[in-house]
Subunit: 296 residues, 4 copies
């Protein structure tokens, strides 16, 4: 079955380098993207480009999806000429997008009805990390799905972390991670405003933190971006951050958990959107703190 | 002048190992602690123990203070038989406690009137780090004070980070750091509750975070404490965390900056104190999130 | 056309007394309720009871709906044998439930396609106010719809307040009103805890407020309920309050507006639900404040 | 003893009309104000004007204070030539300023040591209400003090509400009231932004609320100010609102009670001050909500 090409659907800023890595690992690849232009570089590298998701998928084969949101994932999977009907008996769908746990559970059930497997496998890392095979992958789903997906995931990241059988679990972990990252951004934004208003150099605080008590990449990189207010070009757009925090709040409501810090982040994001900052990097929520302190 | 003994005042869980390190570095030491029993181990190691702060201090010499809070620092410095009057012309006061920037500015002015120098030099690190000379020291004050204090600080930590001439600046940085740490705790607490209520193992999330996107000690250590709810014995008591967040809010009010995340932390701490948890580790604010979600 | 009976759909704690008032005003009435038992009292008073919504509705006639939520309203209107298809050309649908503005806009468009009118007309008031014709009605929609609905609304309330042509506007006003009421509850809850923890009689504060600076029914009634913690039986269930605050947050997100106070109310409601308090009166969110202060 | 003149200290926008009312009631009055110009109108009306607080006060007589804040009250009471020492044995101090409960308790104890009584009696109402004898007065302290103060208070307000013996209680009630009022402002501000961003007339919502579910003066008056954003001239300055919310937070911390809504109000006030709005009416916090929604 592995002689069949793997179908890779969704060639955005994350999907394109991931697909490239599968090709580089020697896996035959069929690719589909709504905007065909993005598939050209992969065609040059040996991928077969198709005109629909269904054409990319082989019955009983493997399909990897990396699309923008829940609606896009549902459309490509369950829509007419979708992945689910085409994969059918014996297939495997590896879903790597950041979506809600509910969508994963629903798709897993739909695939099960058709005799195919579903693995939820979202990733942590920016496009550069994707290109460098440095993604962190979190997975959840059936053991069979994990075994069969392993060579594909190994070719994409630097480590796979398992969160059990519920196909929604990996999504909850991915959303929790993004929540934690943006919480760190908010905390740094408030601290940087506090030192700036106290007459202290913002950059000095940022450097100190990254070299000492928070010597890990997220604090090191983000504190520099925040100290300089370097929100363009965006590494991860603010409007995508909003999508993720919205999903965090949805899960929190479903499991009946108050998350005041998630609410605060949502307020920061909404205020940013109300000022037309959807295309800034998501760290740009810092401007809301700065403005509230009269710094701009 | 360096042949005089250094006076070390305040032998709590941080001060005692710090004083020990000065002794081990070959510096003659005179020590004072309100509770004399805590001075015995240092006496055994060669320190001279005195019955008052004033007796420990040599005119024109160096005094290091590591006491509980602003009131204690003011009392020991400006009270009868205090450090300020005794040090007098040519002295140096190295103040390492976590106090408000205002107190540092006030003490610096008082010392200046008496012809002595004042260096604000609070530290990051728990008692184990103090014992291992692994403290991170932040300093601010006059250049003269920094030059003269350097050998002392070098004997206490693994690095000195400078924040300029305003004696209050180092305190603002120290308070900002503690604010950032407790913000990370709150974020982890909410995320852990979210995964637990979603049926996912808390410890699995903690391990994942520490190994991947937050591979720095604060996330690694605190996520484990939080996952296990291991709040006793306290590494840093919740009531001390309250003191520090209160100081953060005081500075924010003075510089006219809203800090909603600091307010949230204050609410968590107050709720913890209202339930009698002042002696738990400050990470114990997690229980408030858990209880709000019906987890306990 | 007015000789046709008016169809009244939804005989819950609000709908039943409202339908009764239409009957008492001499309007012929056909009623439908999912749970038929609730229709008996109205049958005894002269209403014709039908087995489906469609059977209650006369083509070209008037249908009033007072159902639990958006899903119920959509089902009864657009589902098989729904109000929309049955009303058809020349009909009028008066929608009095608390639903989202989006649902009203959608239903108005669906009715327009079928040649019928739609009026959004939610109400303020508890069941006792409904029985006493003391409801406050807010309306929005086309002028034609308002003219034709007027006799019906006059028979139900003590005043009609108009908010223009957008069928969603009345819903936004209704949701804003409930947001304001629950905000007052939260404020009173915090104030009552403050005085109680200061050794002052809660009831004394409640009486003072209602007699002086807040001499209006919401503060008068709710401060007494809150002072006594008399949350059972529920006048308006906490889980219904959650539904409304959820709708407020949905609108806020759609119009890109941060509403931190709405977020706080949502946190209070979620914490209440997590403790199994869905059947308490919505003022029962007070318990969350009290518990956070160690009062219970 | 009642033949002695009553001393009235503090002739600000509230104190001046209150003193005028005592004169109009036929009570002989001696007045003192730091800024002597403000005493002229009262002199014309028959008051004796003195050059210090001490000169205004008769030993064993009655002194009424209505000053700006805790510091001013302490200075005028306990400072050199202060009210306390001059009143002495058999005197009564009626303290009507908005101050902390701690200050009242401290002053009551100081007076007791000198054989005089202290009554805490802060008021609700703006200057117009003071002029019209329409203040609501809340009191706490000893029974003796209440009996002797009654004729004075009767001449100043439309009702006295008693909160027991603890001299701090009346202050807690006063602070709670101001907290409730500003909470209502914040709620209205958010609701008005929600309707405005939904395309609905702000003034229509304001009128509706005041006529229906919130038919009491605070909602009626403030909703109109908010709808029109008429924050100048200030009825009650934003910086005074900040003082009061700061006192609320201080009490909350002393009694160990989280008050997230008070924290939100404080954030709104701080953001307003950071934008230089200290002289606007305190309802001007609304601008923060509006700006966060991109409305200005």
């Amino acid at each position: 079955m592995h002689t069949d090409a793997i179908a890779f659907i969704g060639l955005g800023s994350m999907g394109a380098p991931m697909a490239q890595n599968l090709l580089s690992s020697g896996m035959p690849l069929t690719v589909y993207n709504r905007n065909a232009a993005r598939a050209e570089a992969l065609a040059a590298a040996g991928a077969r480009v198709t005109a629909s998701a269904a054409q990319a998928v082989s019955p009983g084969g493997i399909a990897v999806t990396m699309v923008a949101n829940d609606a896009a994932l549902e459309a490509v999977t369950l829509g007419p000429n979708g992945v689910a009907d085409t994969l059918g008996q014996g297939g495997l769908h590896i879903s790597m997008s950041t979506v809600s746990p509910e969508t994963s559970r629903k798709l897993a059930a739909e695939h099960a009805q058709r005799g195919s497997l579903f693995l939820s496998a979202p990733v942590f890392g920016r496009p550069e990390a994707a290109a460098a095979k440095k993604l962190w992958i979190v997975q959840s789903g059936s053991s069979q799905a994990k075994v069969r997906a392993k060579p594909v995931l190994d070719a994409l990241g630097q480590g796979i972390h398992d969160f059990g059988e519920d196909p929604g679990s990996a999504n909850v972990v991915k959303l929790s991670g993004n929540f934690l990252i943006l919480s760190a951004v908010e905390a740094m934004a408030e601290a940087l405003a506090l030192v700036e208003k106290s007459g202290i150099d913002r950059s000095a605080l940022a450097s100190f933190l990254g070299q000492t008590i928070f010597a890990c990449p997220i604090y090191q990189n983000y504190s520099q971006i925040l100290a300089k207010r370097a929100y363009e070009p965006a590494g991860f757009k603010l409007e995508l951050g909003m999508k993720d925090v919205r999903l965090v709040r949805d899960v929190a409501e479903q499991v009946t958990l108050p998350m005041p810090l998630a609410d605060l982040l949502h307020e920061r994001l909404l205020a940013s959107l109300a000022k037309g900052r959807q295309a800034l990097d998501w760290t740009g929520i810092e401007l809301v703190s700065a403005e509230a302190g009269g710094l701009r």
